[in-house]
């Protein structure tokens, strides 16, 4: 029994160290990529500019319909229910704050991040992983092209911008759409909450929300690029790294979201 608990402690310790080392590696990778980016100079290069634009189109614009659909679904299923339950216990202000905090600030970020991880994170790993597999990455480096500058940084920037924009969009649809749905489906009186909901988001909250989503975007694209560039010589490594990138990105996004929630609770 003692031996079993001892090995469990060892496993727990080793796993914790592995996760910590992984986070350090990933952070350094993202920071090096952003440091290598040549900013406006890079944007003047058509291929880099197009990489960012394409990333924003693929990750952001193309995901709009699914985010709209999910936002409406969450609005109808959760916001409306939340209001229906809270109406007996709280004031209008408390109900609005509840919807803004839970649906807008938390679910908006998380569901958008989950969609982006599944949709864009996996696509980045497959795309970049195949480039690595077929030595295209090495071919560029041999021409004096900095991969961090030309390939990784544009994806980080594109995914972060998209995550921020989509989560704002999702939060808007899920909260206002939810209140509207509650008004239409349950009782017209819920529509009175739309005006106070508009002022429920304080500038500080919006700033924290944007910062959190910026970090989510960096994690999603950073994890994807980090794992894609680990692909070696075997085609089987591409799906393996894709799976690792998705699982790790999900884990990190949820941990970061929890840390943000804790920080806000103590602030």
């Amino acid at each position: 029994m003692l031996a079993r608990s001892d090995s469990l402690v060892r496993w727990w310790g080793r796993t914790t160290i592995d996760i910590a080392l992984y986070v350090v590696d990933l952070t350094v990778f993202i920071m090096l990529a952003l440091r290598a980016w040549r900013g406006w100079h890079a944007l003047s290069l058509r291929s880099t500019r197009m990489t960012i634009v394409n990333q924003i189109i693929f990750t952001g614009v193309d995901a709009l319909p699914v985010i709209l659909l999910l936002g409406l679904a969450v609005g109808i299923s959760m916001t409306a229910q939340l209001l229906n339950l809270a109406v007996d216990f709280g004031t209008d202000k408390e109900m609005v704050d509840l919807v803004a905090a839970i649906i807008g600030m938390e679910l908006g970020s998380l569901i958008t991040a989950i969609v982006l991880i599944g949709r864009s994170g996996s696509a980045i790993v497959v795309d970049l992983g195949n480039m690595k597999l077929h030595k295209e990455v090495e071919g560029l480096e041999l021409l004096g092209i900095d991969i961090n500058d030309m390939i990784v940084a544009p994806r980080l920037i594109g995914a972060s911008v998209s995550q921020m924009a989509l989560s704002v969009f999702f939060a808007g649809v899920a909260t206002f759409g939810g209140v509207a749905a509650a008004g239409l489906l349950l009782s017209g009186s819920y529509l009175r909450l739309i005006t106070p909901l508009m002022s429920a988001f304080t500038p500080a909250q919006i700033l924290v929300f944007l910062l959190k989503n910026l970090l989510f975007g960096l994690i999603i694209a950073g994890t994807a690029c980090f794992h894609a560039l680990k692909v070696g010589v075997s085609p089987t490594e591409v799906p393996q790294e894709t799976q690792r990138a998705i699982v790790n990105a999900l884990l990190l996004v949820f941990i970061l979201d929890g840390l943000f929630a804790l920080a806000l609770a103590f602030a």
Partner: protein, 256 residues
């Protein structure tokens, strides 16, 4: 008048993975100047590619030192390494191109990245370069729709657009037919003769090596030896050289 400094100077070089083997007993001493071609030949497993990569500064040698374009390769930082790659081009045996962009963008991309000129000018230069290299085909096609000969010419062109001083090529004639390699051979000879490029290549194509008139670096199981030309190699008394030539189809009657 002083002779121009060599572009590559290798002193006591042993390639990565060859330390501790018999190859390390005869480390490489080599100096290569502008307008010179050196062909690295030899049996499989004697570290030709590793040696080429060490000479190009892609990997540090296991022993000895390499000075490339006046800079000690082992002392280069990441920025210096990337900067060196513009003037010391290296084409791997796979000659990979960027699969998501078309033929002409593959050639213009490095020039645009390094801001060598305006897009229209670079594009015109790329087309002129491809024409000079004898490239025939649709420039709007993605690499996947091109044949091996076309892809290899594009890989060469995208290096040349950076106007390098030295070109390292690993097995440039792989997977191309006789007319293809003859065309390639003529291209390399033109680059050496007209553009004064230094070219170092690993090849198994001995008919080309014989015709090229290049210096030959024979990589054997006991190390590398430099020969002034094919005739010197073919008449050498080293049994390993003779055995390699015989295995490659060059017998006593045909070797010279």
């Amino acid at each position: 008048m002083n002779a121009p400094a060599p572009i590559i100077t290798a002193r006591g070089v042993v390639a990565e993975g060859m330390l501790g083997t018999a190859v390390a007993e005869r480390p490489l001493e080599l100096a290569v100047g502008r307008g010179e071609m050196v062909c690295l030949i030899g049996p499989k497993g004697t570290g030709k590619t590793q040696l080429l990569r060490a000479l190009a500064g892609l990997e540090p040698p296991a022993a000895g030192s390499v000075d490339l374009l006046g800079r000690r390769t082992a002392a280069l930082d990441a920025e210096g390494w990337l900067d060196l790659r513009r003037r010391a081009a290296f084409i791997t045996s796979d000659a990979p191109l960027l699969s998501v962009v078309d033929a002409v963008v593959n050639v213009t991309l490095p020039a645009m990245y390094h801001r060598i000129g305006e897009p229209a000018m670079v594009r015109a230069e790329a087309i002129a370069l491809l024409d000079k290299l004898g490239w025939r085909g649709d420039l709007r096609l993605l690499p996947a729709f091109l044949d091996e000969h076309q892809r290899r010419l594009l890989a060469l062109a995208r290096c040349l657009i950076l106007k390098p001083v030295v070109l390292f090529v690993d097995e440039p004639f792989r997977m191309i037919d006789v007319s293809g390699w003859r065309h390639f051979g003529a291209v390399f000879e033109g680059l050496v003769r007209d553009d004064r490029l230094a070219v170092l290549m690993v090849t198994h194509n001995l008919p080309y090596v014989r015709e090229s008139g290049a210096r030959i670096l024979f990589c054997g199981t006991r190390g590398s030896r430099l020969f002034a030309d094919w005739r010197t190699l073919a008449t050498d008394a080293d049994p390993e050289v003779a055995a390699f030539l015989a295995e490659s189809g060059f017998h006593a009657a045909t070797v010279i």
